[in-house]
Symmetry: C2
Subunit: 199 residues, 2 copies
């Protein structure tokens, strides 16, 4: 119930903020973009971490993934966990693509081999090594999508459009700049809807 109330309050705040921004930008009645329900933007453009993202649907986890041939070996192991907001996942299951307002959270955690009774392989530890957002908001961002990185407990900062992540996601994302090719339960949906590009 509390979550619902909080969610509703967050929605109201988001809606209000978007209305204010909309008026300033000369945008009329259409009001809030869908992402307002999930994201809270500050006046300086930074964005707060969605408080409940660990309850959002999980898409996949990878270990030590590297897209660069001959990339430097790391001196540690790292898992990446990807979550997406539930409303957008519901829309994806119906359409095979992401609606405006989609929010992904990528959480990087240190992996460890030795601990408790584990003898080999890797498990995830509480050590958080990174936290990023990938957000679709066609009116707010040129190209429709933006990345944000959290450096600490503070709200996240927009990653500049010149960063490699934009070009790489744009060139290699199987569906609308996203790496659906690495999300095991979404691949088939995208293929069925004809939205999947082999990349």
């Amino acid at each position: 119930m509390l979550v619902r109330v909080r969610g509703f309050v967050a929605f109201l705040i988001g809606a209000l903020l978007c209305a204010v921004v909309g008026v300033r930008m000369g945008i009329s009645d259409s009001g809030a973009s869908a992402s307002a329900a999930h994201l809270h933007y500050l006046a300086d453009g930074r964005v707060a971490l969605p408080a409940d993202y660990r309850n959002w649907p999980f898409l996949s986890a990878g270990l030590d993934m590297n897209y660069a041939p001959g990339g430097m070996a790391m001196d540690h192991h790292m898992f990446d966990n990807v979550f997406v907001d539930p409303d957008s996942l519901r829309a994806f299951r119906s359409t095979g693509t992401w609606p405006d307002g989609t929010v992904f959270v990528r959480e990087d955690r240190a992996g460890s081999s030795k601990g408790s009774i584990n003898k080999s392989g890797q498990f995830q530890t509480p050590a958080l090594m990174g936290l990023e957002l990938h957000v679709k908001d066609v009116r707010r961002f040129k190209g429709g999508w933006a990345f944000f990185a959290f450096g600490s407990e503070q709200p996240a900062t927009l990653i500049p459009k010149t960063a490699a992540c934009y070009a790489c996601h744009s060139a290699h994302g199987a569906v609308d700049t996203t790496f659906v090719q690495f999300y095991p339960t979404l691949l088939a949906t995208a293929k069925q809807h004809g939205t999947f590009h082999e990349r």
Copy 2:
């Protein structure tokens, strides 16, 4: 008027008591145990896969984890994803332990290194290699917990109590037979509540 008010108060107290007793005994209004909300048992004791488990909160993913020293090397890579039903996770966050009715789903997926633009590390593929449940139901199962394994699309069969998973989870699970030591966002909660055992 006073009588009416008194009667209403008594009714409220009675209703409250029934609710408390009902909750303590794990009885909901249908008479089913709390897990009934998430699990559907057949007359022969088999159990159906919760249809929406991929929308349940994700606890962690491991890669090629092995608890046996000198365990055989596998000729493939395998991720395990662990999900838990949302009601029980909410209870865990308040109490540091699992309520009656808790349902875990463990999903094993083949890992792959080469695919799309990935050059090293491992990502998850659609190839499902295993699906198991770990269920707490103190009236249904001696010891309170049971494991079920899915072999195919069919409902899952109870894993016999003599199987190694029971003894291992009982001896090494940090919280009430569960491996909370490998769930990065739950460790601190259990420690705060004094329910965590170093194992």
